[in-house]
């Protein structure tokens, strides 16, 4: 039996030996003696540290020593300079009948090949890491790694406005302009799913007048199929944005200039509009003077006159206020608007203009329409353009063309439509495709900018503007506007 076991041990490539409590070798297998180059007979009785380590005593980390002291199996990995090999060593204690330790079974597995491969791999991965670092550090974009909570773990190079150590470990969202924070938090939420990445343009926080704009691409990084981290790629788009803003500003200036020009056209109707209350005020005031000069002036009547003067003054002030609102040049402000109210306001501004031209403005407004989102002044300008165009077309068509109708309706639950229907001659067939070309005009005194500007305003509001000729003559201009989401 014993011989059979020896044969078995000898066939194992690991170095197997049995040592007693005093580090004396009691038994070795073939692999052991072959490895140290000493026949088994000459090894028995020798101290293991002399044979293996050419030392005078056990090493501190010797697992044979530790196994005896701890009375349990121990393992260690160590390099044997003598054999120039890495070993994984395990020592299991051997007990006598009285459960007293009498030695250990010492098994040393040569792991030199494994160690070398591991080392090569480590070196290789260090090299790759180094290369990636160089690439990252020289990339013209900002690369960040965020942990699952969105805190910054890594950044390739510092943002011009923040020091790297100022931002490491902090939530990335802190460095985004407050108004864009909800957007970014939403990106973090949404990218954690099917989506491979989400891209958005947003502004960073900063003390500058014009904080920088970045295009942010957020991608999730998975580990073992669960979300582990995020990769953020930030590209500085401040310059592009600057140009976009410049173009938008120029567009707004053209729109404004056109609005002022259009206003000149109905200056006379405004004079009429203001003359009305002015007449009432003057006549009332003079009536009051007359009443006061009477022998028995009626205080009651005097009171009524003063109240009427106040009313008329308010009315004149309101005309001026409406005009001011229209001429005002300011930032475009998208707010919730009642389209019917907007139509009514504009019709009030233009009704005198229509009357002077012997035409009438009629409205057919669908009550209770949902609010739309838009800029009041610009949308009013669209209505103004379309109504003035319609009136002019009707003047050209002669006195039979009397009514211009403005309708509002709900096309579908998400879209409101405004139709401006004139009774003029309509667009010539050959030009139905042209009304949106700049400087195209059917009017003798037109600039040809009204429709293109209206078109661009409606488009900027997410709507559409179309022109149709009516079968019975006259043209209808329709424009649609999306309703406010929370309405």
């Amino acid at each position: 039996m014993i011989d059979g076991w020896d044969a078995a041990f000898d066939s194992i490539e690991d170095l197997i030996s049995i040592h007693d409590n005093n580090f004396c070798i009691l038994k070795v297998n073939k692999a052991f003696s072959k490895s140290v180059g000493i026949p088994p007979g000459k090894l028995i009785g020798r101290k293991c540290y002399e044979v293996m380590h050419a030392a005078n005593g056990p090493r501190l980390s010797c697992c044979h020593k530790l196994a005896i002291e701890g009375k349990e199996s121990k393992t260690e990995e160590n390099f044997e300079p003598l054999l120039k090999k890495f070993f994984q060593v395990s020592c299991s204690p051997i007990f006598d009948n009285n459960k007293k330790i009498i030695g250990t079974v010492h098994i040393a597995r040569d792991i030199t090949g494994l160690k070398r491969a591991e080392e090569r791999l480590r070196q290789h991965s260090n090299e790759i890491e180094e290369q990636l670092k160089v690439i990252a550090e020289n990339a013209p974009v900002f690369l960040l790694q965020l942990n699952r909570q969105g805190h910054i773990d890594y950044i390739n190079h510092a943002f011009p406005q923040f020091e790297s150590d100022e931002i490491l470990g902090k939530p990335f969202v802190n460095f985004i302009s407050p108004e864009f924070r909800p957007l970014f938090l939403n990106m973090l939420k949404e990218v954690n799913g099917e989506k491979k990445f989400i891209e958005n343009e947003l502004q960073f926080a900063g003390n500058h007048n014009e904080p920088p704009w970045y295009r942010i691409k957020l991608s999730p990084i998975y580990r073992k199929r669960t979300l582990d981290r995020f990769l953020v790629i930030c590209t500085d788009i401040s310059e592009i944005k600057g140009k976009e803003f410049e173009i938008e500003k120029q567009r707004q200036e053209i729109i404004h200039a056109h609005r002022v020009l259009a206003l000149n056209e109905f200056a006379s109707s405004l004079a009429h509009e203001i003359n009305q209350p002015l007449t009432a005020i003057l006549s009332n005031a003079q009536a009051a003077q007359r009443i006061l000069s009477q022998t028995d002036p009626s205080l009651m009547e005097f009171k009524e006159i003063v109240a009427d003067i106040v009313l008329a003054t308010n009315r004149a002030a309101e005309v001026i206020h409406r005009l001011r609102k229209l001429i005002k040049k300011g930032e475009v402000e998208f707010i919730k608007l009642d389209i019917n109210m907007l139509v009514n306001d504009t019709v009030l501004l233009l009704s005198s203009n229509a009357l002077i031209k012997n035409k009438f403005l009629k409205t057919e407004l669908t009550p209770g329409l949902p609010a739309i989102i838009g800029d009041r002044i610009q949308l009013q300008q669209v209505l103004l353009n379309l109504i003035m165009n319609g009136l002019d077309a009707m003047v050209d068509a002669g006195p039979e063309a009397k009514d211009l109708v403005i309708r509002t309706s709900l096309k579908d639950p998400k879209t409101v439509v405004v139709a401006v229907e004139d009774s003029g001659h309509g667009f010539p067939k050959s030009s139905l495709g042209k009304p949106f070309d700049h400087f195209f005009t059917t009017k003798t005194q037109g600039m040809g900018l009204g429709l293109p500007i209206s078109f661009s305003i409606v488009q900027a509001h997410g709507g559409q503007l179309i022109v149709k000729n009516k079968p019975a003559g006259g043209a209808t201009v329709y424009f649609s506007l999306p309703v406010s989401k929370d309405d």
């Binding site: 006379s268 004079a271 009305q276 209350p277 007449t279 009432a280 003057l282 009332n284 009443i291 009427d308």
Partner: protein, 207 residues
Amino acid sequence: MSKNLPFVYIVDDEESVFKAVTRIIKSAGYAVETFNSANSFLSLQDIKHPSCLVLDIRMPGISGLALQETLQNKGIFIPIIFITGHGDIPMTVKAMKAGAIDFLPKPFDQKTLLDLIRVALTKDKLDQKRLNEKAKIQELISVLSPRELQVMKLVIKGMLNKQIAQELKLSIKTVKIHRGHLTQKLQVKSVAELVRLGQLANLKSSV
């Protein structure tokens, strides 16, 4: 009491304006009646006199200018003072040509308004007097027989009895009898008076 006061009618779609104007006119001692459209004025059964009309030239529906024309077509005589606004010059010219008293560009002074009303009322008095006279003459003429009317027209034309007899194929004696009857009916003493009557009654001198 107001029955004896001169009457001023105001037609204006602007309530604030006609209210104020009403106050001024009333304080000057006139009776005032206001209408907010041409149509409501046209539905008025009986226009009092002496009176005048203060009329906004520009109104929705029937304009002031159109109302002036309608009144003339209906043979209703009332002096009109137009209230005009900015840019109403072409309309104002038309209104003046059609016989308006004057026009008041808004805003206007009370003195100007009251002066014009005085002028208008004076004219209306004269107009009414002339109209009454005309009506009276027409009434007289209406009692003439067709033959007498024929004779009268020829007399006005300046024909002698002999010529009239020839023209109407009557005897001179018969013509003389007709002449006697008609001068009696019309209470005139001379040919000259007869001619004046004929003019006032717009009598055409054709047969």
